[in-house]
Symmetry: C2
Subunit: 300 residues, 2 copies
């Protein structure tokens, strides 16, 4: 069973205008992550635009990534969908293909109630048998998990962990203490939101589910290892080195920035799915300037 710890790196899913995954480009991205020895690959996360791809293309992306990673790095894959039956089918696909775990977000259109989210997760976990990580991302799902609900879900067989957005520095210790107290022993409480994640790791988060890790895995892994070793100063130094990129994230959003970054690094030339527009003009120039401003060991 996967441990859900360390760095989970979230690549974009290169695809054409019709949502057909670009196999060669995806292989390049996955090979880069596997070569960097990230702890897991977070395929088809929000950064991997899972919500915009068909079941068929999601299965295809997973099969390509598993083949390319060739067992060297476990793959955790987004299985979120609006409908419970669709999420269940995606979980079954993921299990059949060989994913290590599924990332399940409470994707919503009609705002969901706690009990509805509980039953949704319990149904998918129990009926699919795929180990699950709760994907807590209110910025995209518009559902807010209480620590009590995460605690309740941590007691469902097969739900192994949660990926939750790290709060700012002065609140993060209390946040992870409260979550740690709410959940079953052994349940992995991990974090997202790259700008705040290193402090969350230092405060006890078991895993960092990272957007930038999908494009700059070596830099992100160096920060993760420093934080796991409890080296506060080195963590802060490395994290500060990425500040030009964090400033781009704040101004232009992480998703749009990593698409531009992948192109600027020569990894792939994909655009995000419409209606999301690629960065152009001065916004793209900002990303190019940020990349140029990074220390050489962090630009990879």
């Amino acid at each position: 069973m996967i441990a859900l710890s360390g760095l989970s790196a979230f690549p974009i899913t290169p695809a054409d205008r019709h949502g057909t995954v670009d196999e060669a480009a995806l292989r390049r991205l996955v090979a880069r992550l596997a070569a960097a020895r990230v702890d897991s690959i977070g395929l088809l996360g929000s950064t991997g635009t899972y919500a915009y791809l068909t079941r068929e293309q999601r299965r295809r992306a997973l099969e390509i990534a598993l083949d390319e990673a060739a067992g060297a790095v476990p793959i955790v894959v987004g299985i979120g969908a609006l409908r419970t039956d669709d999420a269940l089918r995606l979980a079954e696909d993921a299990k059949a293909a060989g994913a290590a775990a599924g990332l399940l977000a409470p994707v919503s259109y009609t705002p969901l109630l706690d009990e509805e989210v509980f039953v949704h997760f319990e149904t998918v976990a129990t009926e699919s048998g795929l180990p699950l990580c709760i994907y807590d991302n209110p910025g995209t799902t518009h559902f807010t998990f209480s620590p009590a609900l995460i605690g309740r879900l941590s007691r469902v067989d097969g739900i192994l962990g949660v990926k939750t957005g790290a709060k700012p520095k002065n609140e993060v210790a209390a946040q992870f203490r409260a979550l740690g107290e709410a959940v079953q022993p052994g349940f992995s409480v991990g974090c997202s939101i790259d700008i705040a994640a290193p402090d969350a790791l230092l405060a006890g988060a078991k895993a960092w589910y990272s957007v930038v890790g999908g494009t700059l895995p070596k830099a992100t892994l160096a920060i993760t290892r420093a934080a796991q070793a409890g080296d506060t100063a080195e963590t802060a130094r490395l994290h500060a080195g990425l500040e030009p990129l964090w400033e781009c994230f704040r101004r232009h959003t992480s998703l749009r920035v990593v698409y531009a970054l992948a192109d600027l690094l020569g990894l792939c030339r994909a655009e995000p799915p419409r209606p999301i527009l690629p960065l152009t003009g001065s916004a793209r120039d900002d990303v190019a300037a940020a990349l140029k401003a990074l220390p050489a060991d962090l630009a990879q």
Copy 2:
């Protein structure tokens, strides 16, 4: 060209656990709306759970409704989708089937920027040729339209109106004045949110896109006609008669309540798509009690 005025009644879309539309039940709901002579039917709105149904089932629901309405009442149909190409295909389906207009919501997972929403709407309107109504519902789409963006969209050929959530009584006049000033002459500014809609009609909203109208069309039409005639006292009297139902909407949400209501009225026994759960126990009892408490002329 449809005028987008008066009462647009939004039925639920009865479907089984797998998302297959129940033709007989949908025909009963549509026949009831056509018999009441609502001004239009808002098929596959948020209340019609469009976001949870496949393209195939959405086309099927539209064809059934058009056949049942038989030209007596125009049908405005939800064509929202996460991807621009999917929304365009739904618009093309709607046009080919004979819908009077499409309701386009900026459905989002990744939060969208104003320019992205503008291009999305412009693309669907221009490439499909289907007349469109902007579906402004931040509670489900999590996108907030500024009056300036609605104004800009009102100048795109084929975008005929907007359905926007009515603000509370003390703000609604200013809201509709600001929108009226922002848009092109002739553009229809209409409202949703049943509890606040009658005041919005009195304040100049051209249309009421109504959840309860899909189940109690006669009551809703009576309120609409009173408001259109400028009869403030009668509008308030009728609207107050529905207060037991409004209280249920506040406590249990409008979507879940109208599913229970359709069952209690003997119209159909459908459940909302999972993960959304049907009301049970005391919540369902609340709806039954509210229905019983309505004046006879408003319980239909």
